[in-house]
């Protein structure tokens, strides 16, 4: 599994598309579909999960056997002000747990900065 992280608008999906030759049909955006090669913006899935009272990391733990060939794109939302809103606070922390779980299992972790990829793992 390859995890691609970085702040908003840094070129994460563009990098994944270029490197792996992904087409739109390969990519699941803002949601989780393990039939797709690339799961993009799982932080948005995480926000929906939090609103439904679900721990976002759980779906990855329960489907750990389906992760090996996946390209997963997540937005790093961990470095700002603690939000006033309780849902956004829970989202922020849940994303940290989810991203750490995935990064620990990933074969490669990449961070995009201004469109430039840097290998973290």
């Amino acid at each position: 599994m390859i995890l691609i992280t970085g702040g908003s608008y840094q070129g994460k999906l563009e990098y994944a598309k270029a490197r792996f030759g992904l087409t739109d049909a390969d990519i699941c955006v803002n949601d989780i579909d393990f039939n797709k090669k690339c799961l993009a913006y799982i932080d948005r899935y995480a926000l929906d999960a939090i609103k439904r009272g679900i721990e976002p990391a759980d779906i990855f733990k329960e489907n750990a056997d389906k992760l090996s060939d996946k390209i997963i794109i997540t937005t790093d939302i961990s470095s700002g002000i603690v939000p006033m809103d309780a849902t956004l606070r829970a989202w922020r922390e849940a994303c940290g747990r989810m991203n750490s779980f995935l990064a620990a299992r990933a074969d490669e972790v990449w961070r995009l900065f201004c469109g430039i990829p840097q290998r973290l793992k």
Binding site: S8, Y9, Q10, S78, C114, G115, I116
Partner: protein
């Protein structure tokens, strides 16, 4: 050699950028981008002027239409543009509302600036890793600044991130 620098606030971007620009020799220009709106802005500008005193910068005031700077300066000189963030704010927002064309215009103008004045150091701000859902204008500003940052990362020889005063090269070399 052109250099693009970004990172979090108060991490040492401006100080490092000043050192790189100064190492570029004379003539040495500081492009002052902030258009002051209140006493807090005035105080910030005064603090920055004091920090630059004695460095040998000639100040070019330019809050918008950045290429006009080059009509009043030697393009072979060394330029420090601090910051891209302030420029976009000036170009994008006014009393009459939001100019959605501003990011595209600024990306084009700054790319051209670097082409014509290759010894330029540009400073931007990394505002992309917080957990917040913003209003449409703020989100348009973030998207717009990221678009300019990425255009400059392509155009510049060096792309650096400053974290707590530590400089991480993402492209090119550490100039100092």
């Amino acid at each position: 050699m052109s250099t693009f620098i970004s990172g979090g606030c108060k991490n040492g971007k401006s100080f490092y950028a000043q050192r790189i620009a100064k190492a570029g020799g004379q003539p040495l220009y500081y492009i002052a981008t902030m258009i002051p709106h209140d006493a807090e802005d005035d105080a910030r500008i005064l603090r920055h002027q004091r920090e630059r005193a004695g460095w040998g910068f000639e100040t070019l005031e330019c809050g918008a239409d950045i290429l006009t700077c080059l009509d009043r300066a030697d393009p072979n000189g060394s330029f420090l543009l601090d910051s891209v963030t302030a420029l976009l704010s000036n170009e994008m927002f006014s009393a009459s509302g939001m100019n959605e064309e501003a990011p595209e215009k600024l990306a084009r103008e700054l790319t051209e600036f670097v082409r014509r004045a290759p010894k330029t150091v540009l400073v931007s701000d990394y505002i992309y890793s917080d957990a917040n859902l913003y209003d449409d204008w703020t989100e348009a500003y973030r998207t717009g600044l990221a678009r300019i940052d990425r255009a400059l990362a392509r155009a510049c020889d060096n792309v650096l991130e400053v974290v707590h005063g530590i400089v991480i090269p993402h492209k090119g070399v550490l100039p100092l």
